[in-house]
């Protein structure tokens, strides 16, 4: 018979066992293995050769990789800025006094696209973005704007992707900001108003500092997500025209699963991992200066 303490420990290990089996097989082992593969010229059928750092020196000179990184950074910058900015704007407006039914309607409308797959959204927007038959150019013509080659011009294609991404994801930022705004006690505003603060001061001195944990959270989550962008782009432009909208993950996908160059793809995936870790770390360090936790 086991002592109560030991039987509790045994139960604990048994309860976490399924998760840790999966963790070992599908996270830990692949993580180590992908690092190992990145030092090989890996072949799925024939022999694999240890090539030391060849894959890594190759990626330094890879023009396409440079292009996909710059695309990914451009996408990340704009997508994070507009998703968070528009989300904040909508949340601030939604937090004003209004009938609860109205607020619920707006909130649901902004939120619903988050639940729909990128793939389906891209299929819909593909039609909206058509140069000659698309709805968007039809309305822009009223503003005197010539038909925009949304999906066939490099810069416009990137803009098209960013607009669609903001359309889909800004509702999530809105939701988090709204929850943050609603948790700010009213007394703070009332006290500040008694002291003669105006609306702008209330916003910059009370709202923003008290919302800073939510803002930080959204920036981190959106940045990590944007650096891994794939679904959004592949259906809408498939990385084109040329490589104009190809992201790093799309490039990894192409190298690994279309060219079967697994070693090189694994090396690229590790650079992305390091970039994501570095960006996250920097954000945490910088956050000490501007994020206020109560």
């Amino acid at each position: 018979m086991l002592s109560p303490k030991r039987s509790e420990a045994l139960a604990g290990y048994l309860f976490i066992l399924p998760t840790f089996i999966g963790f070992a097989i599908f996270i830990l082992y692949p993580l180590v293995e992908s690092l190992r593969i990145s030092f090989y010229e890996y072949s799925i059928l024939g022999d694999s050769y240890y090539v030391e750092l060849d894959n890594y020196s190759r990626l330094v000179n890879d023009i396409r990789l440079r292009k996909t990184y710059s695309n990914t950074i451009v996408f990340t910058g704009f997508a994070v800025f507009f998703n968070a900015g528009i989300g904040l704007l909508l949340a601030v407006f939604l937090n004003r006094r209004m009938p609860i039914l109205m607020r619920n309607f707006y909130r649901s409308a902004f939120f619903f696209p988050i639940l729909i797959a990128h793939t389906y959204i891209a299929v819909i927007w593909q039609y909206l973005y058509q140069q000659d038959t698309g709805v968007i150019n039809y309305y822009l013509a009223f503003l005197g704007i010539d038909p925009i080659p949304w999906l066939s011009h490099p810069a416009w294609a990137m803009a098209a992707i960013i607009i669609m991404d903001v359309w889909k994801n800004t509702g999530f930022a809105m939701l988090v900001f709204l929850a943050g705004l609603q948790s700010i006690p009213h007394e703070y505003y009332e006290a500040a108003q008694l002291d003669g603060a105006n609306e702008r001061q209330l916003f910059s001195r009370i709202t923003i500092p008290l919302l800073s944990p939510s803002i930080f959270f959204i920036l981190v989550i959106f940045m990590i997500g944007a650096l891994q962008v794939f679904d959004t782009i592949i259906v809408l432009t498939d990385g084109g025209p040329g490589d104009a909208t190809r992201s790093v993950v799309m490039y990894i996908y192409q190298q690994a699963f279309q060219r079967l160059d697994f070693g090189y793809a694994a090396a690229i995936s590790w650079t992305l991992f390091l970039v994501i870790m570095a960006v996250t770390l920097v954000q945490f360090l910088v956050s000490r200066r501007w994020v206020h936790y109560e």
Partner: protein
């Protein structure tokens, strides 16, 4: 009965009267911005729905008709009669999403319970290890997983998608939060009654974890239902493919598919999400806000 319903109603009316202040220009501005934003969000979805009910000849017609002009519900049958096995895509997605969700509900609730309520050596270190692994992007692990599946001859089977999905670190974290909130007295009382750890888990913790399980279930089901990256890698033959792949097939090379039929197919694919959203909206919103997971 009447008195009961009357009281809150009049109270609400009184509240509304109190809040009826003169409209300021800020109010007008905020309603204008919110309404414009809501229109911009809803219009692509409205266009999808209206187009899905039109004949092919009208699907590209300009000026755009936002409201349905025809009611060709037979367009919603067309994907099933097309040259791709649409009903199989639907069933495949359903099967993969259902099994993945079931698996995660079991593994995550077990591990979450252990991390929240049981004491064992190394518990906190192991939990930190799991949390740290949340930073590993899926693109790093997918290549060795693919090679492993190839070795096991599991490429182009649903198992290649379901097996890695049976666990979720995020899910463990979420369930742990729910189990942590439960009062310790419940478990002490059960122990006094001679209940073992398995019985405490099954008969006390799980029944109280309903909202947590529902939250995890909805998030997992939706994520799997919408998943594209892994499906694109692992599933290569039509009869194995999932719905997002199927709709990409229906759309055809350079949009050669019939837009009305494609929109009907998209509508069918979104329908389960819409139903869940309407039924469980409040829950989903609360859970997503609290957990901070992007859909």
């Amino acid at each position: 009965m009447i008195a009961q319903t009357k009281a809150p109603f009049s109270a609400r009316r009184q509240l509304m009267r109190q809040s009826r202040k003169p409209l300021k220009w800020q109010d007008v501005l905020s309603y204008a911005v919110l309404t414009l934003a809501a229109l911009l969000v809803l219009m692509p979805l409205l266009w999808m729905f209206s187009t899905s009910l039109r004949p092919l000849a009208d699907s590209y017609k300009l000026p755009p008709q936002w409201l349905p002009t025809d009611w060709r519900w037979e367009n919603y049958l067309a994907p099933f009669e097309s040259n791709v096995p649409f009903e199989l895509f639907f069933l495949n997605s359903l099967k993969i999403a259902a099994l993945t969700t079931l698996g995660q509900l079991i593994t995550c609730s077990m591990a979450g319970y252990a991390f929240a309520r049981l004491r064992f050596p190394g518990r906190d270190v192991l939990f930190m290890l799991l949390l740290a692994s949340l930073m590993v992007p899926g693109q790093v692990t997918i290549i060795p997983i693919y090679l492993m599946m190839a070795e096991l001859k599991l490429v182009n089977t649903h198992a290649s998608l379901i097996l890695p999905g049976l666990i979720s670190i995020f899910g463990v974290f979420l369930m742990r939060q729910f189990f942590k909130q439960m009062p310790q007295e419940l478990f002490d009382a059960a122990r006094v009654d001679g209940a073992g750890h398995l019985r405490s888990f099954l008969q006390i913790a799980l029944p109280l974890a309903g909202p947590g399980l529902a939250t995890l279930g909805i998030i997992t089901f939706n994520a799997t239902w919408n998943g594209y990256f892994a499906a694109l890698i692992f599933l290569t033959s039509w009869e194995k493919m999932t719905l997002p792949q199927g709709i990409a097939l229906l759309t055809g090379y350079m949009n050669s598919g019939n837009p009305s039929v494609v929109m009907a197919a998209v509508g069918l694919a979104i329908l389960p999400v819409l139903i869940v959203f309407l039924v469980a909206q409040r829950w989903i919103i609360e859970a997503l806000t609290r957990s901070g997971l992007k859909g």
